[in-house]
Symmetry: D3
């Protein structure tokens, strides 16, 4: 991997300020708070579409993004792929980056989804940090 797309996505969440992107890359940032995993998935998909990171009418791009989101949620949920069902809630910021991390043109485009925020009981303060990263070819 020549251009670290995952590291870039993570730093967009962890550091303040703009970051230069390689030419031809695109990204967006958003936030979502929910006890409902479905809402987290929907918020990220909607942001990716409305910011033209993926093309809405091409299923393979939705498919690639979806699996990257699922993988990032493993890091956030760490063993129980659930939020409200196990009485916890998240407050997350997310970054979606699309680009060409490999030098070889044949490797084409990839997508990274990074999540960072807090997870815990649905009571302010009863929470700790959580993060997740998913990467897929698109």
């Amino acid at each position: 991997m020549d251009n670290r797309i995952g590291r870039l996505a993570m730093l967009l969440l962890l550091e303040e300020g703009e970051r230069p992107l390689p030419e031809g890359w695109s990204y967006c940032i958003g936030k979502v708070g929910a006890m409902d995993e479905q809402k987290v998935v929907a918020a990220i998909e909607t942001a990716a579409r409305s910011n033209h990171i993926i093309r809405s009418n091409v299923y393979r791009e939705t498919h690639a993004l979806y699996h990257a989101i699922m993988e990032a949620l493993h890091g956030v949920t760490r063993g129980h792929f659930q939020l409200g069902d196990v009485l916890r809630t998240v407050g997350l910021r997310f970054a979606i980056v699309r680009g060409t991390p490999y030098k070889e043109a044949s490797e084409g485009e990839w997508i990274a989804v990074a999540l960072y925020g807090t997870i815990g009981a649905p009571v302010k303060g009863l929470e700790h940090e959580t993060m997740g990263l998913g990467i897929n070819h698109i």
Copy 2:
């Protein structure tokens, strides 16, 4: 959370150079490459002990660290908690931070384990980035 222990652990891996730590905190950094999940766990535990992040002769500290490692590995493995068994290998750097992320003294000490590196087929280049974060009270 007043001092973001997870963010600190991740930035120790993602950014070059030293980072100032709050007073009374400790950390260590290491690396491990393996197709064997057992070796990843062992490398992190050994580093935590030899750098005095945890006390070797106190089981509750080993127990706290162990679960933080398990949680971080969920982010790295994303759904199949295995490496060589499913024919893949990792090259990881890890950061272990022990500190007091909450203002209230009663919240005591916590431990964060961050992992960052690559995961993929056991062939150079057939890999992408991966990351995980686990946090536990200690």
Copy 3:
């Protein structure tokens, strides 16, 4: 295994037309579309009961069927045992077959549940095929 009960259940879904069954075997076919995993389970259980594949008043038969359904759903959901919670929906046909796949009389009756259809985003066309097969002694 002398009479392949799982293969038969799958072919009932994949091929058009009637198929001859060994003597003493029974089966039923149905369909269900849902974002709610509970509805998938309920549809299959209801079909099995109303078609007399299992006896409603015998718990061990419900228990055998239930675990066969759970196993088939692993094939359909492939790692996240959820539908709407992770913002996806299924359109499935199912076949339930009860019979004696082994020659030895002591092996008794077994039940196979096969599922085949599509899984994807809750938008027409954003989906691909999925299948699952569960087998249990009854």
Copy 4:
């Protein structure tokens, strides 16, 4: 382990009558019936707080209890961390014990959560027994 906190928690559920506790230990017992995993978690957390097994305003104690509950639920759900979503319900009694199972003072306090009852279809009688045990440092 010198004082078996898990065995004690289990016997509080399996045997009738009072049991003597080591000095300084505390426990409570309760029951919950639900198709909703969230309600099971909430019932146990509420009992632990109202019986002063944990301090409500200390997050690390909630965190320790929460993970012990999650671990006990693995024993109850055995592979699908869900109840109503997969069309089943539980009727459980639970015991929460807080104490010092290790001789060394440095090992401090631990918490055990034991669950015992029935799991099955949401129909009276279509059910069998289930149990789970989670243990964590607190």
Copy 5:
């Protein structure tokens, strides 16, 4: 459930001394220590066969026992279905009970597998208790 087969299996492990069994029931008790999950499964299966709890030459009985063991191991491993692969070891006693827990003759025989012991790092003392219970129709 009229005769609590699971409770009986657990009490055989948690309490000293003999326990009376309902007429026609059978059971055996054994122990196994291993870092290798395969050895735990093999020890339980071997004990069940050599004590004639199941008939070796009837696959449906092996199948029923196997799934009961798998379910009990969920309680023991609590989320990561592994031992040595995640650098931990178990020392377990196990009880296998075969009987007729339901009044109705049509419910037939069931099998319960209970496990109780310690789990932890492969170092004496770095461990806590663990328990699991699996029940299946046979």
Copy 6:
């Protein structure tokens, strides 16, 4: 989905004889018996490469195939993503199909991996059928 790539892959395993493929599609068939999940993955990857279903020197194609294999193995293993570790073995035939299941040219190529065979104890005859299907964009 206009050309059902998953159904085709499964029928290649379930029915004897050749099947016509849409123009531009490719496939291969193979078999593998193993107690070691790694060997199953390796056998499928090797067949895909030596039959030119994927290009060996393009990581994104290996990545697409790998995740399709993982998904198919969920159907085969149904909840415990392990073989020998839980004392069981598989005898599988596999079909890999690459093609264009969607009418729209923008949807491009997809890959399907189907598995069908037996799973059970490492003793001849103590086994039942198992099946899995994984589909990914490539």
